[in-house]
Amino acid sequence: MYRQMVRIRTFEDNANQLYLSAKMPGLTHMYSGEEAVAVGICEALKVTDKITSTHRGHGHCVAKGAEFKEMFCELLGKEEGYCRGKGGSMHIADQSNGNLGANAIVGGSMGIATGAAFTAKLLGRDDVTVCFFGDGATAQGLMYEVMNMAALWNLPIIYACENNGYSEYTKTAEIAAGSITGRAEAFGIEAHTVDGQDVLAVNSLTEQLVERCRKGEGPFFMELMTYRYHGHHVGDINREYYRSKDEEKDWRDNKDPITKFARHLTSEGIATEEELKAMQAEIKADATAAVEYALKAKYPDASEVDMHVYAA
């Protein structure tokens, strides 16, 4: 889990650098700070389990098993990207690992996730689906329609609300009346709030809920309290008008999920600091190599532009 969290952080540092050096087309939303959520959850899943992701989706993608090379190629619009360059940062999907895709429509994946759980039930598979979404997405009506049906039909799905305190430039308290978990409870869905900076807590709760989903006890709802370190997207640099530097510093210095887990690993004697450092260096080198590869990789051929509009 430590490795996966560091991989996400390293991926994002490189993606941010690509944006700042104008090598990446368009904008992207950084997952840094929220690593324990994606990793704690995805480590409790099998490859065949499904996830749906969001505009802030790199973390989910890495955590579900994706490779750096194909991811960076996608971010740069290259042919070898997971979506042949057609999707980009906000639409990364990795079919091979059960990632049904990031989504640029807030809340847009809630139907898809619930539909994936429907398939599992219909076809008698034991797959569980995790639907990732932000606190802001709880304002979308679709969520209430699908949670109602998921509860009526006992679908094997976990709704995972990443509450990072903000939706774009607005505090969650200003856009969400009442409690977040109360929304699920209204449908009789068992809901939990968990510290999203504590990868062990996230992971053990998810393992239990996944197990129960497989037994037909779903759906479940998790609210994961977390924080994004960067702006809403990489271009959101001057953000003091909506949140203070002190607040950001407090989360980075005192609640970092990677630092917290490293402390646990070393104090329990599971790993030494040197081992963790070596792992970080190895991941950094991997990422650098993947970025270099992606920068040199080919763009898709012009003939691909009208390919894949319809399935064969």
């Binding site: 906000m90 429509i105 802001g136 763009y299 532009v305």
Partner: protein
Amino acid sequence: MREITLSQAVNEALAEEMRRDETVFIIGEDVAEAGTPFKVLSGLVEEFGTSRVVDTPISEPGFMGIAVGAAMTGSRPVVDLMFGDFLFLIMDQLCNQAAKTHYMSGGKLSVPLVLRTNLGATRRSAAQHSQSLHALVAHIPGLKVALPSSAYEAKGLMKTAIRDNNPVVIFEDKLMYQEKAGVPEEEYLIPFGVANVKREGTDITLIATSSMVQVAEKAAEILAAEGISAEVIDPRTIVPLDEAALIKSVKKTSRAIVIDEGHQSYGVTSEIASRLNEKAFYHLDAPVLRMGAMDVPIPFSPALEDLTVPTPEGVAANARRLVAGEMIAGEMINAA
């Protein structure tokens, strides 16, 4: 004349109308302190307060519905829809409710509402943030549709839209927010249904909307250097459409290309081309061509995205062939 950006022009139009009429209010996501991600509304909340510049949760159908009800009962909402692509979320409130209320009530109720949103690709924003969906809205009777092509149009059309007693959808070109144009200090309005001849010409008419007006103007420059005289017309609103001005131009030039950033099939270009066919057929020397966005979801990769939208070179190439009397019918006419 002073020059201001399209963002400033929209901002001024809204501020002037809000000062003039206290029933006008703005509603949408991050419209207040943040002033929208494109910073178009910066400063308005400071002047008009949070009761008239209203931040909402990410609940598009919800705030659109609230705006419809508010409009039916004496307010004049200006709804801010962050991306044109989100139209699909609010289609019921816009098309089943706002568009039909006046008619269904036998003229007794009306919905004086403005929906501000945007269109346009080539920002590397991929398939769900790059669409130009104005044709979908123009298809529904009861809705008016304005497509400003510069800061000047953006201001004049916005003011007219706010005073109109019908639901009006205004699509701004995302790429144009920071682009400047001459905008008078004095108040002016641009009436709906009046096309603007941007450039006079005699050999071919280029009818272009919104983002494509500049493309057509650049094509006309290229053609002028070769001795082909192109007329460029911007309809400014597609509902209502200034059909008379378009027909008049085509009768003069006898050829036309219609250029619009919506998908080419079943789109604005098809509608205008068929009206010319019906009403100016005997004056035409060549088939009217359509040039729209390619019929594919907008791809992320720059290498692909740039192929999907008409370019000045593509327009000029097609114009050249039409003027030379070469038939282009049957080919996929696109960015070339």
